[in-house]
Amino acid sequence: MAVEELQSIIKRCQILEEQDFKEEDFGLFQLAGQRCIDEGHIDQLLEVIQNEKNKVIIKNMGWNLIGPVVRCLLWNNKEDDKRKYFLMLDLLVKLCNPKELLLGLLELIEEPSGKQISQIILLLLQPLQTVIQKLHSNKSYSVGLALSTIWSQLSLLPVPYSKEQIQTDDYGLCQCCKALIEFTKPFVKEATDDKENSLENQRLKDELLKFCFKSLKCPLLTAQFLEQSEEAENDPLRSFASEIIGFLSAIGYPFPKMIFNHGKKKKTWDYLEFEEEEDKQLADSLASLAYLVFVQGISIDQLPMVLSPSYLLQFNMGHIEVFLQRTEESVFSKGLDLLENSLLRMEDNSLLHQYLEIKSFLTVPQGLVKVMTLCPDETLRKKGLAMLQLYINKLDSQGKYTLFRCLLNTSNHSGVEAFIIQNIKNQIDISLKRTHNNKWFTGPQLISLLDLVLFLPEGAETDLLQNSDRIMASLNLLRYLVIKDNENDNQTGLWTELGKIENNFLKPLHTGLNMSKAHYEAEIKNSQENSQEVQKSKDFCSVTVGGEEMPNMPPEMQLKVLHSALFTFDLIESVLARVEELIEIKTKSTSEENTGIK
């Protein structure tokens, strides 16, 4: 039936002129064609399409068949039939009006979800390329539209992150990326071959540029790369990255140019309007690019080898800041890698403090603190810490000083403060050993810094447990200073400030310790007395994790916690006692010397 219907429409249209085709003709043709396919009359349909006399009809109406044909290709398992459908597809691509065909194909690409996305894309990329090449005008627009549609679909796919995942390529992302490069290559060649650089050509370059930037963000921003070795040859995402960067270079945006243009207010691509892109998204792409070049070494040989290491650090700091603002491990870990790569180029103590006036030079260490304290992954936390220490090592003295102040004021974390205080102690140590005293870690500047260290944030009511790391570090620093700096020398200015330190730090610490110990001892006594009775939960607040309420801490555990708190207090107290002992010894001996002289 369907075949007859089709043939009758064909007969009627064969005698008509093209412009006389009516809308209902299109509709009937499509319906009939669809029916033929549904009912399996492949051969007859093929015959109709191949018939020379039907050329004009097919040219105008054929594109409607693309959808049904493609769907059959995806779902049909019979080899024979598949071959025929492929043939049909080829014919339609050859014969039909490219403009409409393009839209038809793109619609098909936009349709699916899940694992079908890659299937359709892999199927249609080649026909799509052929169709676009047939267009005579506005090619750039079509290229842009195609790339944009395909990219939107690919951005829905999860990015594989382990070697196994990359190899199995469940969702086909890697395969698609490879195919997409092949799809794009001829257009890049066209854009670069055109010596005249007409307006149309410029538009083509613009579309390619947009596509490259989008790709840098997705999938390349989150992609994990295999170790650089022989394996690297087979890494599909690395190849993809390599090609994209190659495209950028070919269309006039080689990476070295971007480095030298860094800092210019007006970027060369400002005039482009990225539809979904805002400045921020562009920042992601550029950061991704910097990572790929410096850490993965892709086309790093294109960089002129005359750039100063401090300029490279300055250039990369902005990108590192972008990375560290993200919380996905696959993204911010790239920031850590890029920071390491940049810092290792510099010698210790060579980074001038003036660089800290650049915003990113302060937000990056603060970002590191975030990683160190909040990241669930221990390896990454340790790396964050290592990077912070590396950064500190590279700064000059004034830089170190400024950074210490900044982090002491902003980190709000006892462990981080303890880490900084240890660094301060090291700097004082180095400074005292030099013949020429470092003015930032001795004298009045140091006193100002010590004010931030040797004090209790809430006086005697400071939570000593919460702040125990910091307090221990401060006490150790104080002990060091008392031992190392003789009262006569007073190089660090400690002895003149002793009264203030005693008032702001040592006395409140005594009080705090006494209060805390008494409090906890009372708690322990309470616990022990109540251990026979059932713990009533009315006084306690409850803790819910993942929708489940946690049981109250068993009494033995509670006791353990209380005892360990007491232990911490004892520890603090013993160091405090030692420090005061040393102070007394030193002040007594000096006063004895003084009286001795008299």
Binding site: P304, M305, V306, S308, L352, D396, S397
Partner: protein, 226 residues
């Protein structure tokens, strides 16, 4: 023929306090200071103002100058020829941590590069700091290995090879380049031998196979200045 020694206008305490207006001290010095003295103080001011921050340290400098020149080198007591000698020997009393590059330039020893001119330039157009320069270059290690170049050779085809363009004198490139290019005139081609301290130092540049502590040799041709 010593001129009359001018009276001390203020006590040391007055000088140390904040109350004395700078203008008065400056006027006093300008009225009574010898040419050499003024030249040195100018030099020291320039030194400190390099960061273009006017701060109490300039005032401190003037006070230090008074201390140093308490040998009563006031007007007419000496010849100006000795100025250069004294300028070299003047040291500030305060500590000098490696803060600004400018201070390093002024009290470091000889420049850590050598330049031999291969082709003379126009000797009139010299780049200033912040100008954009365009140059061709080839970089080799001491053993002759070429580690970088932007000159198109038949073997290594770089599409549309263009001269390297960048703002000179502001630290974008290694110090040897920044310093050397400021001494070159338009059209000049020179051979630079740069010590590691003004190149990539202890770290080297592994991306380019430059080992640590490598002395670098560049042939640079300055084609244009913007």
């Amino acid at each position: 023929m010593a001129a009359a020694v001018p009276q001390r206008a203020w006590t040391v305490e007055q000088l140390r306090s904040e109350q004395l207006p700078k203008k008065d001290i400056i006027k006093f010095l300008q009225d009574h200071g010898s040419d050499s003295f003024l030249k040195v103080s100018k030099f020291l001011r320039a030194l400190k103002n390099y960061k273009s921050k006017v701060n109490p340290i300039s005032l401190m400098n003037l006070k230090i100058n008074i201390k140093i020149f308490s040998l009563q080198r006031f007007k007419g007591t000496e010849s100006i020829n000795k100025v250069s000698e004294q300028v070299k020997n003047v040291k500030l009393n305060e500590d000098k941590p490696k803060e600004t590059k400018s201070e390093e330039t002024l009290d470091e020893g000889p420049p850590k590069y050598t330049k031999s001119i291969l082709k003379k330039g126009d000797k009139t157009n010299f780049p200033k700091k912040g100008d954009v320069v365009h140059c061709w270059y080839t970089g080799t290690l001491q053993d002759g290995t070429v580690f970088d170049t932007n000159i198109q050779t038949s073997s290594k085809k770089k599409k549309n090879a263009k001269p390297l363009s960048f703002k000179v004198g502001i630290g974008k490139v290694i110090r040897g380049w920044d310093e050397a290019l400021l001494t070159m005139s338009k059209g000049e081609k020179a051979r630079l031998e740069i010590e590691p301290e003004w190149a990539y130092g202890k770290k080297g540049q592994p991306d380019a196979k430059i080992p640590p502590n490598a002395k670098l040799i560049f042939e640079v041709e300055l084609v244009d200045i913007d």
